[in-house]
Symmetry: C2
Subunit: 212 residues, 2 copies
DNA sequence: CGCATTTTTGACCGATTGGACAAACGTTAG
DNA sequence: CTAACGTTTGTCCAATCGGTCAAAAATGCG
């Protein structure tokens, strides 16, 4: 434990602050260039400190990355964890979609960092996907399956349902450049997330077939 | 023109073959590591030739990448180009979704290469997105809007509709590692694309609301 | 064959990379 | 003050990067 801390003792106030500063800068750089594309110098400049100083707080580039992505995965999965059997199923799914879309809007760097890692085969987080993400998805898939059996939502594949929610919402963070370019300056402005929210709600609830 | 060709004259048979060989190897490496993460040595090894030899056929790493991605974009947009007013709208959309999913299955490297480039802000293909992709999407969005006005499909946002088709289908190529890990060895086998096809058809046509 | 052209390679280059290290600096407690 | 500890930096290093170049090898052609 505390493998990436420069000292063995408890962290000082400065250490806590500087580590946060560095992680924020690292998130900027990693999410834009990927792990290999990012350089320690870039992160150091973004954090406003020298390279050796940065390596005083994190023993290596890899230590920054893993600290960042392990923390990220927790906040990333939080909305799915909140999916439960309390409200009505349709409402639960609707608010899960809404929360995921809000995360794409508010935390695009985190989304891109995660996407980048998965794209490259998840070499650094495979154990987290199999040990943490998969069990959670399986659990929620069972929950959704129950809703289907109870006739609360249409019968379909719950795993692919979850995939489609991830895909459609994270698309607005990961492919933001493309989305904005295609929508153009008017329709691609700040309102694009409200438009997306409206569209996705209709898609997931009603589909595209016209009502008789 | 012919900017990346080593010679000004017509291409020899060997040049044509070796260039294809190199591009295939480059697609492997670029799609896995991104532009900056990929090295010429890696590509050379994957192609089974020496680095200087590779640079005899392509004047630079960038030349390989742009050749690759410009060619890729054409095949990538082909299914959307085929979307037209001939058949019935629902059938047109259904087969567009199916074709895109088949492309994710058969050309995952191309999908990841494209995703990687967009993720990093599309620094090398912004002009293609604005000059080629956007007009095409606008044209097809108008077509879809016509279908809505004619009552053939439900009224919604045609641009976001296209985004959601891209997102859901390409997800199976770009996030393949995650998909397979979550589905597990049984459900994540070769059948996952058929499962996805069935699920997506239902999602886009009927949505999740149970039928009364 | 002999010659010109195309193809391939080993050696090399300057720039950049992640990281090490000791010295210097700052801060605080006694 | 000073000793101890935490922080910062300039300098340096080996490895790797994209790319060059001259020379060798292979090929095509009369």
């Amino acid at each position: 434990m505390d493998a990436e801390t420069p000292v063995r003792r408890r962290r000082t106030r400065i250490q806590t602050e500087k580590r946060e500063l560095i992680l924020n800068a690292a998130l900027d750089v990693f999410s834009q260039h990927g792990f290999r594309g990012a350089t320690i110098d870039q992160i150091a400049e973004a954090a406003g400190m020298s390279k050796p100083n940065l390596l005083y707080y994190f023993r290596s580039k890899e230590a920054m990355f893993t600290t960042l992505i392990e923390r990220l995965l927790q906040t990333w999965l939080a909305p799915l964890r909140e999916l439960d059997d309390i409200g009505d199923p349709i409402g639960e799914l609707r608010s899960y979609i809404r929360r995921k879309l809000e995360m794409a809007r508010d935390y695009p760097r985190e989304s891109r960092l995660f996407a980048n890692e998965i794209l490259q085969g998840a070499p650094r987080i495979q154990h987290l996907i199999e040990g943490e993400l998969k069990p959670l998805v399986d659990e929620k898939a069972a929950l959704i399956k129950g809703w289907m059996k109870a006739g609360k939502i249409a019968r379909t594949d719950p795993w692919h349902l979850i995939f489609s929610i991830w895909a459609t919402t994270q698309h607005y963070a990961d492919f933001d450049v493309q989305v904005r370019a295609v929508l153009g300056p008017d329709r691609g402005g700040d309102g694009r997330f409200e438009d997306a929210a409206r569209y996705l709600e209709q898609l997931f609830l009603e589909g595209l077939r016209p009502k008789a």
